[in-house]
């Protein structure tokens, strides 16, 4: 813009006529061009970031959402059986043609080594389905008609109506069963949705626990972080720099080292317990259990996430002039009133930012609870990791992840309604 103006200067169009630049282009057009060029340059600068976010964030999330309902195995690898099962009413055992189609599918599946995927998929819904399919497929070559008797001979489960109902139900390209599992629901023998058997209900409890522990950790980091941030903002630079290094020091240490250090400190034969026994506060047989349970998760995560609370608080407190507090005091407020009515309201943007940062990080935390949490300190992300790595039920992992994502979005929306996102200052 400055260039365009400078160029227009010496040329100085005739008074009253449109202003033009040195090369005769109307000033308005020239300005617009310069503006457009600048916009394109700016856009080009952010393109790498946009592409990066798209590739590493948006697409994986979309894929996760897709996986949580995607159900390709049966449609793809039992095509004949699925087709003839459409005619079946689901009341009695299906007719011979369904069994014949199944034997055909088993033969093809054994030949192309695809029957395993069907077996794994159905075993999530019915224990024993895996061997039902893989073993029958191995001997499918030798089956003779009538196939109904041959299959039931090979494994009596082929003679159960529920097996066939399950195959028919899951023989659709999309499934709701992962979400049902994630909400501790299941199908009964007749295909209606019921609550999971009491012994198998896990996820609801875990979601609730994740929420409660994350809130507790957020509250603790606020209680511990507020005075630190206040000190940082008010101490002379010499001391506050040193304090700042102490706050940042954990960032330079590996997460695993910090977590392991907590185990050393907190375990029953650890430093703290031995110290307490040494000074006679507790007996040798009354050592406290502070790790391998939810207490350990809270302590270690509070420590690890503390800087995420301190830094936003500090950046806000730094901008609050100390004279406000002095003014309040000189106008007659006692220290408590001055703090609550003058200082605290001004730190709300920092509290908001720190709280939401700590809460959102902790709701998806994984490695620390896995190491110090024992069984009562596990969070939902530990179960998601379990299904990703051990049980390999990626559909269920995706469903749990999607629910977690939706939950965070809802909480964020609530937070926006109550506190207001504009009212938040990250630094």
């Amino acid at each position: 813009m400055a260039q365009a103006e400078a160029a227009a200067g010496p040329a100085g169009g005739p008074p009253g006529g449109p202003m033009v630049t040195a090369d005769g282009v109307p000033l308005k057009t020239s300005l617009r061009r310069a503006e457009r060029r600048r916009k394109i340059t700016a856009l080009l600068l952010v393109v790498p970031l946009l592409a990066f976010i798209l590739l590493t964030f948006i697409i994986p999330i979309l894929e996760m959402l897709w996986r949580s309902v995607d159900n390709p195995a049966l449609v793809r690898y039992l095509p004949n059986s699925i087709e003839v099962l459409q005619e079946w009413d689901g009341e009695q055992l299906p007719p011979e043609e369904v069994f014949a189609a199944m034997v055909e599918d088993l033969r093809v599946g054994q030949e192309s080594r695809t029957i395993g995927q069907v077996a794994v998929r159905l075993n999530y819904e019915m224990s024993g389905a895996r061997s039902l399919f893989t073993r029958s497929a191995r001997s499918a070559e030798d089956f003779e008609p009538p196939y109904r008797d041959a299959l039931i001979d090979a494994n009596p489960r082929w003679g159960e109506v529920t097996t066939w109902r399950l195959i028919k139900r899951e023989g659709r390209p999309l499934t709701a069963s992962y979400y049902l599992s994630a909400f501790d629901l299941t199908y009964d023998d007749h295909g209606s949705v019921v609550r999971q058997d009491e012994n198998l209900r896990i996820y609801g409890q875990l979601f609730l626990r994740t929420l409660v522990l994350s809130l507790a950790i957020t509250l603790l980091t606020l209680l511990l972080g507020f005075p630190i941030a206040y000190l940082l903002a008010t101490l002379p630079l010499r001391y506050s720099n040193l304090l700042m290094i102490l706050v940042l020091l954990p960032f330079w240490t590996s997460l695993l080292v910090r977590t392991t250090a907590w185990i050393v400190l907190l375990q029953q034969q650890g430093v703290i317990n031995s110290l307490l026994v040494g000074i006679g506060l507790i007996g040798d047989d009354g050592r406290l259990q502070m790790v391998h349970n939810w207490v350990g998760t809270i302590i270690a995560m509070t420590h690890i996430l503390l800087p995420f609370m301190v830094l936003p608080l500090y950046s806000v407190m730094k901008t609050i002039p100390p004279s406000y507090l002095r003014a309040a005091r000189s106008l007659g407020a006692n220290p408590l009133v001055a703090f609550v009515r003058v200082y605290l309201p001004q730190t709300v943007p920092g509290i908001g930012a720190g709280a939401i940062l700590v809460f959102i990080i902790s709701i998806g935390y994984y490695i620390t609870p896995a190491l110090v949490g024992g069984q009562s300190g596990q969070l939902i992300s530990n179960l998601i990791a379990f299904h990703m790595q051990n049980s390999l039920n990626w559909g269920l992992a995706a469903a749990l992840g999607s629910i977690l994502l939706a939950g965070v979005l809802v909480l964020y929306w609530l937070y926006n309604r109550i506190v207001g996102v504009d009212n938040m200052k990250l630094g």
Partner: protein, 368 residues
């Protein structure tokens, strides 16, 4: 656009370099996936280093990802980019991968060396250990271990029943956070004969019975996830008993000198071995390595470094002393006659069928 053009150039240059490199020295690198720690160490010393010495053109790269091997093989197959050449995994996972066509089928007598006396591989490997796609290396076991310092010398535990007896043998116990081994032990301690354990576990009443037995000691339990946690908890005297893999317990007791004793009663025995992912780039080289690394002498060599039993019958006679400590390895092997009195052989078919449901129930039980 520039960004794209640049990265394309870089890729092309990289490819050129790779081609040039392959042409020059015919160097080939094999990525071998295993369990890490003392176990990988034993493979490096028994197999990888001697093999690389004999075949200067081959470089072996270790990847400690076996704990998530099946997930990794699946992901690589789906992405169409198989970078693992050889993977060490458990037979149950190998069976799943085999059924899904993710790993190569093995013609045992064709692809594996015969025993020195000419016995074909299919007869030399221990009965039931070979799979369609699976070549066993070792027999390992999950064992109950206790810290001898935590019990008086005249009252040391000796059986799985003692593990469930918190009156006479107090202290907390560390078990793995999954049902495998734990449910078997619960039924074993509750009086179920070894050869009926899996029959009982297939019934809902049997599962209830196993959980009821575990309930009796639940408040004394803590749960470990990683194999290295168990010996650590035991060494720190956080617990008085811990379940764990016999090789790690051996390493802690004999190499580090921890006061551990193993209860071989009711040891849970399983195989561990190699599979070859389908679609890799170095299949020929891997097959050559496999033929060599699974012969009688090589399997016996591995037992010099870790207390896991070789999977070939002909190797047993060749097992000698520990390479560094000089102690006789025989008595530390799960398959030694003194130790192999009451073994529970892990039933992989059972766990692949009922694992999904029992793991959910176990997780739920841990939470309550």
């Amino acid at each position: 656009m520039k960004f794209l053009a640049l990265s394309t150039t870089a890729l092309a240059a990289g490819a050129l370099l790779a081609v040039a490199g392959a042409g020059q020295a015919q160097a080939q690198s094999l990525t071998i996936v295993s369990w890490g720690g003392a176990y990988t160490e034993s493979q490096v010393r028994a197999y990888h280093d001697p093999y690389m010495a004999e075949n200067p053109g081959i470089t072996i790269i270790n990847d400690d990802s076996s704990a998530n091997a099946l997930a990794g093989i699946r992901a690589q197959a789906q992405a169409g980019n198989v970078t693992w050449d050889l993977v060490d995994m458990l037979p149950s996972d190998a069976q799943l991968a085999c059924d899904e066509g993710l790993i190569l089928e093995i013609d045992h007598d064709e692809m594996l060396a015969a025993a020195p006396d000419g016995t074909p591989a299919s007869e030399d490997f221990l009965p039931g250990s070979l799979g369609d796609c699976f070549i066993p290396q070792i027999v390992y076991s999950t064992v109950m271990t206790f810290n001898t310092e935590m019990f008086p010398a005249d009252n040391q535990p000796a059986s799985i029943e003692d593990f469930f007896d918190v009156e006479n043998f107090p202290g907390r116990r560390a078990i793995q956070n999954r049902p495998g081994a734990n449910l078997e032990w619960a039924l074993f301690a509750d009086g179920v004969p070894i050869d009926e354990i899996y029959e009982v576990l297939e019934t809902p009443e049997g599962v209830d019975r196993a959980f009821a037995k575990l309930d009796t000691i639940k408040e004394h339990l803590i749960f470990w996830t990683e194999g290295s946690q168990a010996p650590q908890l035991l060494a720190d005297q956080e617990v008085s008993f811990a379940t764990g893999y016999n090789g790690r317990m051996f390493a802690a007791a004999e190499v580090e000198g921890q006061p551990f004793a193993i209860i071989w009663d009711g040891q849970i025995v399983e195989w561990d071995g190699w599979v070859v992912p389908a679609g890799g780039n170095n299949i020929d080289a891997v097959m050559d390595y496999l033929y060599w690394a699974t012969d009688t002498q090589r399997l016996a060599d591995q037992a010099k470094f870790i207390s896991y039993g070789p999977a070939r019958a002909s190797s047993a006679a060749l097992v000698g002393e520990h390479a560094d400590l000089g102690i006789d390895m025989g008595p530390h092997m799960p398959t030694h006659p003194d130790n192999y009195q009451t073994p529970i052989v892990l039933d992989n078919d059972f766990w692949t069928d009922y694992g999904d449901e029992l793991r959910e129930r176990f997780s739920n039980w841990m939470l309550q």
